[in-house]
């Protein structure tokens, strides 16, 4: 099993460790690690079950072309049973290029993956998560993109860790010149992130078109602040330019599974539901009593967000 893991700051990403947990469950996991790397990071990969590490560091080159070229070369000398990546930016770029090079498809947006005989089977939530399709590819190597939060990251722990122990063997993969397909990263900008992040927060407050105007999103932010929650949004108001894409929850945005999700002025389009329906508790406030969001809400309030939210914020402030 090849599992793609990227570096973020001085750690492997949470998504990468989730994928690694699945990879090691299915067989011997080799981490394809993208980033500068360090002994601490490689040790973490070992603790999470990587038997070995293939290290790629693309520096200021956009990773997709050189990494896909190097991996394709490696596949030629012995294909893995599965190449598992996440539904994330560099993962998608590498998977797409690699698949086109190898002449095989990509099983995208998987929520689970299983080995089946010599092949793989993947589950996909379709039609807003109301149905689950099981798919397979007729020919390997099998490249799968799994949605974030499909698996739970966990260190091996106990006896297995004691046997494995230490840093797994790390092999640095040479990145070939990708010629005309090369793009370079001239500058990197880190956007300041305030407060709890969507993927990690235990409470998420989101807003949708029902807020009526970009200014009304302030209500979502105030409630979020009061609850120490992350704030999210539907695709509709992201596309309308009310809030940045980083806040988008849904099929083409982030997947969240917080303890409590509060949907404000969100009707519950399929695109949105698939990104939040696995939240432990869902509270929805919407004017339209027939809004689909109510069919999955533990508590549905049929009402005007402009009336309910100020009172809710006030009540929480006075607690």
């Amino acid at each position: 099993m090849w599992v793609f893991i990227e570096q973020e700051g001085d750690k492997p990403t949470a998504l990468g460790l989730e994928l690694l947990a699945k990879g090691r469950e299915l067989g011997d996991a080799t981490a394809i690690f993208l980033g500068p790397g360090s002994d601490t990071i490689f040790a973490t990969l070992g603790e999470h079950g990587a038997k070995s590490v293939l290290h790629v560091d693309s520096g200021d080159r956009l990773p997709s072309a050189p990494v896909a070229t190097a991996l394709a070369k490696r596949v030629a000398s012995g294909p893995p049973d599965l190449i598992l990546l996440g539904q994330a930016y560099n993962d998608r770029d590498i998977a797409g290029r690699l698949a086109a090079k190898l002449g095989v498809g990509v099983l995208s947006n998987a929520s689970d993956v299983r080995l089946n005989g010599g092949g793989v089977e993947t589950d996909h939530e379709i039609l807003g998560g109301s149905q689950i399709a099981t798919a397979s590819a007729s020919q390997g190597p099998y490249i799968v993109l799994a949605r974030p939060k499909s698996f739970v990251a966990a260190a091996i722990g106990g006896e297995a860790a004691a046997i494995g122990g230490g840093v797994p063997p790390v092999e640095k993969l040479e990145l070939p010149d990708a010629g005309t397909t090369e793009a370079r990263i001239a500058e990197s900008h880190v956007e300041e992130r305030e407060g709890p992040q969507l993927g990690e927060a235990s409470i998420v407050v989101s807003g949708g078109r029902g807020l009526g105007s970009p200014e009304a999103y302030e209500l979502v932010e105030r409630l979020g602040k009061q609850l120490k929650a992350a704030t999210g949004a539907t695709r509709a108001i992201v596309d309308a330019g009310w809030v940045p894409y980083a806040k988008q929850v849904g099929q083409t945005g982030k997947t969240v599974k917080p303890d409590v999700y509060i949907a404000c002025g969100i009707s519950g389009a399929m695109q949105h539901l698939v990104g939040m329906k696995d939240s432990k508790t869902i509270i929805a406030i919407n004017k339209d009593a027939d809004a689909p969001i109510f069919s999955i809400a533990d508590l549905g309030v049929v009402g005007d967000v402009h009336k309910v939210l100020p009172k809710l914020i006030e009540a929480l402030e006075s607690r």
């Binding site: 990403t13 956009l62 997709s64 896909a68 994330a88 998608r92 998977a95 797409g96 290029r97 698949a99 002449g103 095989v104 498809g105 990509v106 995208s108 089977e121 379709i126 998560g129 109301s130 149905q131 689950i132 099981t134 798919a135 397979s136 590819a137 993109l145 005309t180 397909t181 793009a183 990263i185 001239a186 500058e187 990197s188 900008h189 956007e191 409470i203 609850l227 695709r235 596309d239 330019g241 894409y245 083409t252 409590v260 389009a269 399929m270 508790t281 406030i285 069919s295 999955i296 809400a297 533990d298 508590l299 549905g300 309030v301 049929v302 009402g303 005007d304 009172k311 809710l312 929480l316």
Partner: protein, 252 residues
């Protein structure tokens, strides 16, 4: 600069999607609309073409139906359209789609190919990268801003932490996010002009490419249903029920 924009006609997302019995392929009605995601790509293409005295050609694969979605792109201002329609392409996956698009694009002189990051109906999210690989071009992906210079293109590329400034030589493939530019609405003149613009229709035989290995849908089952709970009308006190539930869940 000659810009090619990949677009897709999709069933209106406002209507419930249905799958064909047996094949489990999405049923595509005669009347499909331009994927909203593609309006951003078309707009970006138009702005670059206008600034460089160039052209915009849209390329699309799939059953044409009424062709309404393609006309939408032409009405915005695209100069011409290439439509690849072939019964043998039903149920195509991302790689087959990319092979077809790349083959059709490769028949033309182009400097820049623009595509959305993923379609609204299929959302595999890997087609632009595959097209780039097949064209032997760099893929500058998830652009929130695009600028072209003398033989080069520079984008702001969305990252987990913020954004990167990424640059490459042309020709190149750029995938754009919604919000990269504000798409224009077709004018009356645009709509009238669109009726006269050329739409070239191609079939697989014209392209010299073949389908990728099949992906199969083995089964479809209903997901475990999450049932709704309590629904209350707000008569001025609904916030109290929310506070009570938050307290019960021990998050406040």
């Amino acid at each position: 600069m000659n810009v090619i924009v990949c677009v897709k006609q999709i069933p209106d997302p406002a209507t419930p999607y249905r799958l064909e019995e047996g094949s489990n392929w999405l049923i595509r009605p005669e009347e499909q609309i331009l994927d909203d995601t593609d309006r951003y790509g078309v707009e970006m293409g138009l702005q670059i073409a206008e600034a460089t005295d160039g052209t915009v050609t849209v390329v699309s694969m799939g059953p044409s139906g009424t062709g309404q979605g393609i006309r939408q792109a032409l009405a915005m201002g695209a100069d011409a359209a290439i439509l690849i329609e072939d019964g043998s392409l039903r149920g195509s996956d991302a790689l087959t789609t990319a092979r077809v698009l790349a083959a059709a694009i490769g028949r033309n002189d182009f400097d820049l190919v623009i595509a959305g990051t993923e379609s609204t109906d299929g959302y595999s999210g890997v087609v632009p990268q595959m097209v780039a690989e097949l064209l032997g071009a760099p893929a500058l992906t998830y652009a929130t801003g695009v600028e072209t210079g003398d033989g080069s293109v520079t984008i702001h590329r969305q990252t987990m932490a913020g954004y990167d400034v990424v640059t490459s030589d042309l020709p190149a493939v750029v995938s754009v996010t919604a919000g990269v530019v504000e798409p224009r609405y077709p004018t009356f003149k645009g709509i009238m002009d669109a009726k006269k613009k050329p739409i070239e229709t191609l079939s697989m035989g014209d392209l010299g490419t073949e389908r990728a290995p099949e992906q199969l849908v083995l089964s479809i089952v209903d997901a475990p249903e999450r049932s709704g709970g309590r629904k209350i009308e707000d008569e001025g006190e609904a916030h109290e029920a929310i506070v009570a539930l938050l307290a019960e869940r021990k998050v406040i």
